[in-house]
Amino acid sequence: MIIAERKPLEEIAAMAAPYEKVCVVGCDTCVAVCMAGGRKEAEETAALLRIHREKNNIGGVVESFSIERQCEYEMIEEHMEKMKGYDLVISVACGVGVQTVVDYEPSLKVVPGLNTTSFGYPVEQGVWKENCLGCGNCVLHLTMGICPITRCAKSILNGPCGGSADGKCEISKDVECAWQLIHDRLASFGRVGDLAEIQPPKDWSVSHHGGPRTSVREDVRIDRGE
């Protein structure tokens, strides 16, 4: 799922300061699971913003509600009239949600209330770990299900580098060396020999480096007969 964190309140307050009628709009999918921008967090953000504005003598109203998925037109649609009633929408969805709302209704003023950080999963309550970068050409079959593109600080395909020590990455003692993990997992399956093969340079053209990507599936497109 997509992981995000709320922006500092001061930053959100500064974005909202010039506007009278403000609404914090949550998204009940990924960002609700990572407790950053679901209904509850949208309400919380609105409440904090109200207190902040009161303290700073900024009038107006700050309200909130949430949409089941901000990244789908069908789900945004039913809330559109409501959103149009505000001078500013603070979307606490991920960056995808923010932009889907903007695309759907260009007349709306929409700002982000979250910093979208990564694709990952909750390892334990309150801890989310990034493990995919969406590079467009999955290598997990070569690396025993551990992504070196995401989890190695240098995205090395022929690791580990010379900075790997005691299972940790050179960038921090809190970060596991992905290549130590890959090595150990290969070893447990008797496949360390796999590492002898020199993996060629990666084709980054299918990743974001090739420009923004659009996936098209002709077989499932709806022929609107235009």
């Binding site: 240098k154 395909l157 022929n158 900075g163 590492l195 980054w204």
Partner: protein, 305 residues
């Protein structure tokens, strides 16, 4: 003979080789670096020129390497994959060749978070293994990484680094072999302080005959002070210094002399290890001491290569 560089000739001669290291300055005035280069002129075969070492912005390694060429000295330019993509790296290698640089050393480079631009975007388009292989193919197959043809002749002596002190230990020899397969003709190791571990690594290297397929130069760094030793031990990625060594320095009255002694003893031991082709002395911020180390380690005068 591949590139006919002095370093290559020295290695092929079978003599115990000595290389030094120069760190370009954080400014465009390279006089001091040139002075250090002059100081070691008769004591080392070639000089590594670091490439924005520890991710700190410095004068480019190729510019400094070309300056050494003008001085009649032999540079080994370092290329890290952190700051440049394959377009820029290949272009720079062509440029370095055009300027008379004959040795290239391939590294991953320390992560940008360690340097003075921690907010920069790390490139890591290719990794160090792909860099070695790519530069080998550029030289031997006349092909760029993307498959296009390289015009005209180009030749350089290719080296890489290996860290016997990194983990997982057993894999470090496999990785050396992989670098040799990729195209490295010489290897400089990370600074050796833990000689026992180094010897164990060399044993595994010899078991596979890897020392016969590439020249292994042991990395040696003299410790200038207790502070410097502690700093390296705790903050420099990839370096391990046994506590006993730190204690020895701590107990010594004259720290600098003790640091020198340790470095010299290390070289003496390296000379005895079968398969070690030479030493690479990294006395960064203490360059003036290199001639003394080389002399006291019994490696002077240097043979003519």
């Amino acid at each position: 003979m591949i590139a006919g560089s002095k370093l290559e000739r020295a290695i092929n001669s079978g003599e115990f080789v000595v290389t030094g290291e120069l760190g370009p300055p954080k400014g465009a005035d390279i006089e001091e670096m040139k002075h250090h280069a002059e100081g070691m002129r008769n004591h080392v075969e070639a000089y590594n020129i670091t490439d924005n070492q520890t991710a700190i912005v410095r004068t480019s390694s190729i510019a400094c390497g070309a300056t050494l060429v003008q001085m009649g000295l032999e540079p080994i330019i370092q290329i890290v994959v952190r700051d440049r993509n394959r377009i820029c790296i290949q272009s720079d290698v062509l440029g370095a060749h055009a300027l008379g640089v004959k040795n290239t050393l391939c590294l991953a480079g320390d992560h940008q978070k360690f340097g003075n631009e921690p907010q920069s975007k790390g490139v890591y388009d290719i990794d160090s293994m792909q860099l070695i292989k790519g530069l080998k193919d550029m030289r031997d197959e006349k092909k760029f990484m993307g498959g296009d043809e390289v015009e005209g002749d180009i030749s350089y002596f290719l080296g890489a680094v290996e860290n016997p002190f990194a983990d997982p230990f057993e894999y470090r020899v496999d990785r050396l072999e992989k670098k040799i397969e990729a195209g490295a003709s010489f290897i400089q190791t990370q600074c050796i302080f833990d000689l026992d571990r180094f010897e164990r690594w060399m044993e595994l290297v010899r078991e596979r005959g890897l020392h016969k397929r590439c020249a292994i130069l042991g990395g040696v760094t003299p410790m200038k002070s207790l502070g410097a030793a502690r700093y390296m031990k705790n903050n420099v990625s990839g370096i391990t210094i046994p506590d006993a060594l730190v204690d020895r320095l701590k107990g010594a009255e004259k720290k600098k002399e003790e640091g020198l002694k340790i470095a010299i003893e290390t070289i003496e031991r390296l000379k005895e290890i079968e398969g070690v082709a030479g030493v690479h002395i990294m006395a960064i911020a203490w360059e003036e001491v290199v001639p003394e180390i080389v002399e006291r380690a019994g490696l002077y005068p240097r043979p003519k290569f």
